[in-house]
């Protein structure tokens, strides 16, 4: 039906789970023994079977799910609004009345749970069919839609009219009762998928929940908590943001260019080699970055190694080792958690341990308490304490130390690869022929090369 791609068959229909549940309810209603009681609808001459009354539906739902009548009525209304059941007397108002009004089930082709797209072309064919049947008297909003579609898919309009006429002729081959039923089914489908203005669009909003006092109390609580959250003024945030950008600007390869040269353009990967995680001589920019914040220093493997050397000279290397062990515990596998916790305790926390870390007494007590039931986050408080200690104490000393100043002086700025003067000695900028490039002929550049060289020389 749709003039568009169908969804791939393997995709699980996880969207809109309420539609699948509704489908299951409708299918269980069809059971010949335990389903809803069916009656026949009698029009002037024709008799059409399989009609149900609203009260039957409500009672069946109340019995099957053991809910109150009000809840069953709400559930039935949701089914009608999504087009699984449609009213026979007043097709435009999709609601369930718990009395003798007759309803009928929708055919599976038009079920909403299939999530087949209701395309513009199909809607245009439906409106054209309706136009033919009613000889030009469409409802207002349908007339608007018709005119808009005529402009929008004008190229397919011949197909629209051909299909509309043929579908009507095909429908004439059926009995009158079947024709009526199929027309009602299609009308309901389009009322659900293209609701008239003012009617709720169930496909976008989803089923409404029954009114419930408890949910409102929860909502009030949520909003009260939201009001009490601390806020930062945007002037403060933006200043911090500006200072961040100013500090990092020279370090960003996209903003300030990268030396020796951008590997993506010049096909020279010296940049990556020089900035590898573990390299003997880090570049100057990298060493400068270690001074921005403690986190930068710890995240860089070379920075961490130099910091460990520095701490070793100050005889407080166990702090960093403890921090590293805690990181390993947090991000390691679940299986090694107990053994790792024991190892950390033996090495760092036990009184008289070989590398005892200096944690304040309250944190130490709490940690030792929690070590009885080890999990990966038991050492979080201790780790944070040691981290803040290193940050406040050792890190500023490291930045002022001779070691760091020596590293800064040693680190070099890589030279930019020189661009040669004569055009014909340039290295080709694009070494691999990309299919996206237009095939620029090589001859003109070679031809103007010597000419350019002659012009310069």
């Amino acid at each position: 039906m749709a003039a568009g791609p169908a969804p791939p068959p393997g995709r699980p229909r996880a969207q809109m789970p309420h539609l699948r549940k509704m489908e299951r309810v409708v299918v269980s209603m069809q059971d010949p023994d335990q389903g809803v009681k069916m009656r026949s609808q009698r029009l002037l001459v024709t008799v059409i079977p399989h009609a149900v009354t609203g009260s039957d539906v409500v009672q069946w739902l109340a019995q099957k799910f053991c809910v109150s009548e009000e809840e069953a009525l709400h559930l039935g209304t949701v089914l009608v609004q999504h087009g699984y059941i449609y009213p026979l007397r007043d097709p435009r108002s999709l609601m369930l009345r718990p009395d003798e009004t007759p309803y009928r089930f929708q055919t599976p082709y038009f079920w909403t749970s299939t999530l087949w797209p209701a395309a513009e072309l199909d809607y245009a064919i439906y409106l054209a069919k309706k136009n033919i049947r009613k000889r030009g008297t469409l409802v207002d909003y349908e007339k608007d839609c018709y005119d808009r579609l005529h402009k929008k898919i004008n190229h397919a309009w011949d197909l629209v009219l051909m299909q509309a006429r043929e579908q009507l002729r095909a429908a004439k081959q059926r009995r009158k009762g079947d024709r009526l039923v199929i027309a009602c089914q299609e009308q309901t489908y389009w009322l659900v998928n293209r609701p008239p203005p003012g009617a709720p669009n169930v496909l976008e909003q989803g089923p409404g929940r029954g009114s419930c006092a408890a949910s409102r109390v929860l909502m009030i609580e949520y909003f009260r908590k939201a009001l009490g959250r601390t806020r930062v003024k945007s002037s403060v945030c933006l200043e911090a943001y500006l200072s961040f950008c100013g500090q990092r600007g020279p370090h960003d390869p996209l903003v300030s260019g990268c030396l020796p040269s951008n590997p993506w353009i010049s096909d020279n990967d010296a940049y990556w080699v020089m900035n590898a995680p573990t390299v003997a001589a880090p570049t100057k920019l990298r060493v400068e970055r270690w001074g921005f914040s403690f986190r930068e220093l710890l995240e860089d493997p070379m920075g961490r190694a130099h910091f460990m050397d520095f701490l070793g000279k100050e005889f407080s290397g166990e702090n960093l080792s403890f921090w590293e062990a805690c990181e390993e515990l947090r991000y390691g596998t679940q299986a090694q958690v107990p053994t790792l916790v024991d190892a950390v305790y033996e090495q760092f926390l036990a009184p008289g341990a070989a590398r005892w870390v200096n944690i304040d007494s309250r944190t130490m007590e709490q940690t030792l308490e929690r070590l009885r039931q080890p999990h990966r986050y038991v050492l979080d408080d201790a780790q944070l304490h040691i981290y803040m200690l290193m940050k406040k104490d050792s890190y500023p000393r490291f930045l002022k130390s001779d070691m760091y100043k020596g590293l800064l002086a040693e680190a070099g700025i890589p030279l930019e690869t020189k661009r040669r003067v004569f055009p014909f000695t340039w290295r080709p900028r694009h070494s691999s022929p990309s299919p996206a490039l237009l095939p620029t002929p090589v001859e003109p550049t070679a031809a103007c090369g010597p000419g350019g060289g002659d012009g310069v020389a």
Binding site: A3, F105, N131, I132, H155, R165, D178
Partner: protein, 235 residues
Amino acid sequence: MAREECKALLDGLNKTTACYHHLVLTVGGSADSQNLRQELQKTRQKAQELAVSTCARLTAVLRDRSLAADERAEFERLWVAFSGCLDLLEADMRRSLELGAAFPLHAPRRPLVRTGVAGASSGVAARALSTRSLRLEAEGDFDVADLRELEREVLQVGEMIDNMEMKVNVPRWTVQARQAAGAELLSTVSAGPSSVVSLQERGGGCDPRKALAAILFGAVLLAAVALAVCVAKLS
């Protein structure tokens, strides 16, 4: 002439696609049966044959570079209608595959939905195959093999559409439809006033009757006036 031939093929495909759509609507409902599945199979095979021949003719014509501009425009219009029709057919085939798999008849997993459609659809299938009547007797496990074939055919039609787009490039925005909005009301092949009356509207058919009454009254008045004049002249 090539144009008439293409137009005739396209009309045939259009008719078969419309009938196929009409038959797929009832799959899974109370009118679903092995006979219906067999009718679906015959209809879609006819549709595919027509599609292949139309595709071949139209591709041959459009790849011919020595075509006049207005003729080319005409054929491009036919091409756009043909590709739209083929998209509709493919979508309907996919949907019938999903529905047929969800409602298997041979070993039914769930009961058929009681939709109120009870009659036979052999008339529609006969129209699709352009025969006078159709009498089919399908075996009890027809739908099992049919689903496998349907899957293959869906893939074939998808491939055909892809090949079409590769071979001929007709931008959709350059095609102008011939028929204006509301053109369907001018034709006299519209469905008769009594055939698809929906349940609530009854007063829609009054206008032609009123017009007829007015004409009759006018004719009677004219006759009376003419008689009066004759009487006046005679006397």
